[in-house]
């Protein structure tokens, strides 16, 4: 399969999007933090904004929430422009990075806050708080203060506090940052299942690719205030549209080469079809490479480092041209024990899974 540099490919939705962001820009002084940002989010969809810090993902979230004003463009919810709607009237719920729970209010009063601010009758508040606390499995914690809860419980309070007002759009700003690694993994699965069960349309902001791959229906990879690619997690991982996306998501090996009439030749002799011409970069994932004995192929190298990463073994192979190629193999597939400094040959398992980018 061949791949040109696809631009941001926004999937055309069959139904009207719940959240429509059109050509939103934002600058701080001379810095353009968001440029011409366009994204539609469908009913019940979780879209992740993924990118390094400073790529504009949090800025966009804050513009949608209304904390900051966008410089131009439209932000629509159910077809209605909300740009001029004040923060406290937008049908948007934000789960903050540090949760921003009110330290002086108990769990029940934190969760009931949105309803009290809307002057709901006391009985209704009590009933809806109880029901939403049950949803996030925090029944029995009503009278605790946030400081008396664990990180995971605090996060669930933060989510319950937003859920209780039944927002049209849920915005999550790196909600797992404050949790330790093990809890983070469990909460990711739990939160995705909860959002899916409730059918909430969500935007999730993170710089952690694993989190993005776990949580999302679609991922928007951002760089410099623009979207590089929007696609499903599989598509992003297997067929990254640009070299930037390939480099940002997962581990990638780039091989610089020249196009020969419609195809490029890999160092191991196999070919990959392409529409491009001139100098190109061919990208292959570490799991698409195989090590063999040195006499097995023309692409030779020396193992400079290896480590066990759980079920995987990761090799760094220094090729004859000086490039360090990363190769991974399942642990039980270790047919020949490869030691550091040993001579090996490299081969691509499936050339069709390589991506070709302009050089």
């Amino acid at each position: 399969m061949m791949h040109g540099p696809a631009g941001p490919s926004n999937t055309v939705e069959t139904t009207a999007p719940v959240l429509g962001i059109g050509a939103v820009g934002k600058r701080f002084g001379a810095t353009r933090v968001l440029q011409d940002f366009t994204l539609d989010v469908a009913e019940g969809e979780i879209v992740t904004l993924l990118g390094p810090s400073g790529c504009g993902k949090t800025t966009l979230l804050r513009c949608v929430a209304g904390f900051w004003e966008a410089d131009g463009g439209t932000i629509e919810i159910d077809g209605q422009d909300i740009v001029d709607v004040p923060v406290n009237r937008r049908p948007v719920g934000v789960v903050f990075q540090s949760y921003a729970l009110f330290p002086h209010l108990t769990v029940a009063r934190n969760v009931g806050y949105a309803l009290r601010m809307r002057n709901k009758p006391r009985a209704e508040v009590a009933q809806r708080v109880a029901s939403v606390l049950e949803t996030v499995s925090l029944t029995g914690f009503e009278n605790r203060y946030p400081s008396q809860l664990s990180g995971g419980q605090q996060q669930r309070v933060a989510i319950a506090r937003v859920l209780v007002m039944e927002p049209r759009v849920l915005l999550l700003d790196e909600p797992f940052n404050a949790l330790d690694a093990k809890l983070r993994g469990a909460m990711q699965v739990e939160l995705r299942q909860l959002i899916k069960r409730l059918g909430l349309t969500s935007i999730f902001v993170t710089h952690d690719q694993e989190e993005a791959l776990t949580m999302s229906d679609r991922i928007a990879v951002m760089s410099g205030g623009k979207i590089e690619q929007v696609a499903s997690p599989d598509e992003i991982f297997d067929r990254p549209a640009t070299a930037y996306v390939a480099d940002f998501i997962g581990v990638s090996n780039f091989l610089e080469t020249e196009v020969e009439t419609g195809h490029v030749r890999l160092p191991d002799g196999q070919t990959v079809m392409t529409d491009l011409t001139g100098g190109v970069k061919v990208m292959t994932r570490p799991h698409n490479l195989r090590l063999g004995p040195p006499e097995a192929g023309p692409w030779k190298g020396t193992v400079s480092f290896h480590r066990n990463v759980g079920p995987l073994i990761e090799y760094h192979v220094e090729a004859s041209d000086g490039n360090v190629i990363r190769v991974s193999a399942m642990r039980q597939e270790r047919d020949c024990p490869v030691k550091d400094r040993s001579q090996v040959s490299l081969s691509v398992i499936d050339p069709a899974s390589c991506s070709v980018y302009p050089g």
């Binding site: 406290n88 934000v94 009110f102 601010m117 809307r118």
Partner: protein, 310 residues
């Protein structure tokens, strides 16, 4: 290699180092000893002597006490004398109203500091701290110029045609109150700012996101979280104003008698040390009572900070 090993041998600390370590370890009261010694000599002992004079009848001859007998008479005299009641009431009224006014004027400034941009913050800090760099006496005399019969305020009002004859502000309760509020406002604002900026600014955003209006956020988030600042600021302003001496003396003229000026007159002019002693005691006890009340109120409204072990 062996030589290097010898040089790296672990050596026990010397005696001086041990003493310094013990002093700075934070265990025991050793680091506070110098302060305790000084305070004992210059404050505790003189105050104990003064108290003993308040609870005894004594005779003096040539500047020395020749006989001293225990007595409650000075205290009972003070407590039954309406002049004391009026004076302490006036002091209390002045202190409480100054504290309330400082809170009323200071809180919005602290709120502005919380919500404002970096330049607003800087401006507020400069304007709050700058007055503290000049002496209270200088600032008090400045009010003489402004509030006097032919002062800035009266001239302006007369020229604008708002009044026919100069207002008599100087040497009244109002002059004292105005001066007190101006001088003590920074003491209220600074603790408020310190406490309010300690909290995550996202709390305000969260509140708005959950549907609260600005007023709602102020009432349900900012105000309850700033209670410790209100408590500290009020305690400071109250203590300073309840025992104040300079401002009533200058702006109130000679005829504004409050607790501190009364003690000054008893000790310095009429040389009735027993009366001065008893007045000081009443001043201190009543001041402590108000401080305890402020502390209890602050605790009541910050119960959430104490539940960590539940």
């Amino acid at each position: 290699m062996a030589e290097a090993a010898i040089h790296r041998r672990i050596t026990p600390p010397g005696f001086g180092e041990q003493v310094a370590d013990a002093l700075l370890s934070g265990r025991g009261i050793w680091p506070a000893v110098p302060a305790i010694v000084v305070l004992t000599v210059v404050a505790v002992i003189p105050f104990a002597i003064l108290l003993s004079l308040g609870f005894s009848d004594f005779e003096m001859s040539r500047g020395a006490i020749i006989s001293q007998t225990f007595s409650f008479s000075h205290l009972t005299n003070a407590l039954t004398d309406p002049l004391y009641w009026i004076t302490f009431q006036r002091s209390m009224n002045l202190a409480l109203s100054t504290t309330a006014l400082c809170l009323l004027f200071g809180y919005p400034v602290a709120y502005l500091f919380l919500t404002g941009g970096p330049w607003t913050k800087r401006l507020i800090l400069v304007l709050t701290i700058a007055p503290l760099l000049t002496s209270g006496i200088v600032r008090t005399y400045a009010w003489l110029v402004i509030l006097g019969g032919r002062g800035v305020l009266n001239s302006a009002l007369l020229q604008a045609g708002l009044i026919d004859q100069a207002l008599r502000i100087m040497n009244t309760h109002w002059a004292v109150l105005i001066g007190m509020v101006q001088i003590h406002l920074p003491v209220m604002i600074l603790p408020l700012i310190a406490v309010m900026s300690r909290h995550d600014s996202r709390l305000v955003e969260a509140s708005e996101n959950l549907g609260a209006s600005r007023i709602g956020t102020l009432r349900t988030v900012i105000l309850p979280l700033s209670v410790p600042g209100i408590g500290t600021g009020s305690a400071l302003v109250f203590t300073l104003t309840y025992t104040t001496f300079v401002v009533p003396q200058i702006l109130g003229g000679g005829n504004y008698l409050n607790a501190a000026t009364m003690i000054y007159e008893q000790v310095v002019f009429s040389l009735e040390w027993s009366k001065g002693s008893v007045s000081s005691l009443i001043l201190m006890v009543t001041c402590l009572m108000v401080l305890v009340a402020i502390a209890l109120l602050t605790n009541h409204f910050t119960k959430w900070t104490k539940g960590h072990d539940a």
